[in-house]
Point group: C2
Chain length 307, copies 2
């Protein structure tokens, strides 16, 4: 099973209560692809960067089994740049700077070799571009997962709703679920959003875990209680990467397998927040990943049998 | 196994976004005892009320298998009264009125017949009174669980620390864990608090579930995602009641059994918030309780086996 990942590949500059970075590698598709690479091979990336983007990083992605033929490198242009500062609670942040640069006229070209991809992960991007990607695939993938954010709800709701109607799984955070649905209760919000198109909704609650809903069922996965959250940047994308990576490996999109996928996603996200940027999710070994997944099993499993 | 429950039995008046009550029955020990009654018999209550407290409510407690010989009824005095208003998010509230009344000079007398109790649940009360209860028991119970709140941390920290050193399990919410430990990370907070005396700490996170820590292990139980939280009053006490009730029934205080106890407590709390006050946790039947516990099993159980 091959996986198509579309989203930003970018530079970030991050300030947290624990420290500050210069420009480091970021972008939704970067985190998604890296996290997915621990579960599946044959990951195909579509994105755009400027010629300021380091070739060494592209090689890092390739070493993780990520095909970058669909990563456009725009001569004389600059990569997308975001800069933000986290507050002391690490749950809220201020955007200090956003430079769209190459994203301004990003046209997502799908290389012919990617056309056979059976799963599609649409990282957070303008909803029109996400839609264009779906339209440019000759065959509809077996599963389309879409991430988005409040900014598109504020500025491009009509376009967002069109794209939403075309996907299978939506991932958003709790505040966004409330905004999109107009419901405070996440149970009611989920049912409304499922009525907008996707059969499944994942609500990410950061340090409070994640909920998976379909029309009839709900599953909850906690976040791992950590001694310190060092940098939350990319945690949601890393979660999505582990999630879609497990689904691509197993080729099973049942609710029960999505539960497992959410645990794998949560495990990857728990690595992500331990260091700045992508630092912690590059070069993990299988034993580290397995041990972390086991921590989740130990964290939530209990033995109650009702007759 | 018999259970001793000490705490307030009182009147509340509650305002939520969904409505408003006149004086209704409240009090930590009321919620604890009622919730525990679904799991164990032989519940022995120590508390104090005024002669304004309805005899019919005391009969309700008796019908739930709760022995009220230790419930002092003070002639010519009024019961403890609390009034509060919840904000729209249902997570924060303002206290509108507190009338201590009979609590002002509460002397917790332990009836001789209660002396054989093997488990003690200390509901939120002045720490000196909680300590007095422990000292008045001829034999130390097999397990002492203590609830407390930020008010005692603000006003009587020294006394709180003395009592804390005498108990096995402490239950507090996340903000209180941070206040008591001076640590923002709940993992670090838990380790500091366990260093203060109790071998176990339960951190209640309301709609975000609960964490159980001992020195080496951690377990997480979610709250049930509900369509509406109608009235959170008493949810923490109801949780504690389900928790101690299951432990009293099984006479097993291992970490694995405490995990189960936390799920039973969470299930009971999920009933509590569905209606005002104690309305929902009076007169439940076993099938309703079992079904609710099964919802928790379905909510969090997944099947990952690592080799």
């Amino acid at each position: 099973m091959s996986l198509l990942v579309v989203g930003t590949v970018a530079f970030d500059a991050i300030e947290t209560p624990f420290g500050k970075t210069d420009k480091i590698i970021g972008g939704a598709a970067t985190y998604i692809s890296l996290a997915a690479s621990y579960f599946t091979g044959n990951i195909n990336l579509v994105s755009v960067v400027g010629d300021d983007f380091p070739a060494a990083t592209i090689k890092d992605l390739n070493r993780h089994g990520i095909n970058t033929d669909g990563l456009q490198v725009k001569k004389g242009q600059k990569s997308f740049f975001w800069s933000g500062r986290y507050h002391n609670d690490m749950n809220t942040r201020d955007t200090l700077d956003t430079q769209l640069n190459v994203l301004l006229d990003f046209d997502p070209v799908i290389p012919e070799a990617y056309q056979s991809c059976e799963m599609l992960m649409l990282g957070n991007l303008m909803p029109q571009i996400q839609k264009k990607v779906i339209e440019r695939l000759h065959n509809r993938p077996k599963l389309i997962v879409m991430d988005t954010m409040n900014f598109w709800m504020d500025t491009q709701m009509a376009s967002l709703m069109e794209t939403l109607a075309m996907v299978d799984v939506l991932t958003i955070n709790d505040a966004e679920a409330r905004q999109l649905s107009g419901e405070y209760s996440l149970v009611k919000a989920a049912q409304k959003i499922i009525g907008m198109g996707p059969q499944m909704l994942i609500i990410k609650k950061g340090e409070h875990g994640a909920l998976l809903f379909n029309k009839d069922q709900v599953f909850f996965a906690p976040a791992l209680p950590l001694e310190d959250v060092f940098d939350p940047t990319g945690a949601g994308d890393t979660f999505a990467g582990g999630f879609i990576g497990h689904l691509a490996r197993t080729r099973d999109i049942s609710f029960d397998n999505m539960k497992r996928a959410i645990i794998f996603g949560s495990a990857m996200a728990s690595f992500c927040v331990e260091k700045f940027g992508t630092e912690r999710i590059i070069g993990l070994n299988q034993e580290e990943v397995d041990d972390r997944v086991q921590e989740f099993v130990d964290l939530v499993q209990f033995d109650i049998t009702l007759v």
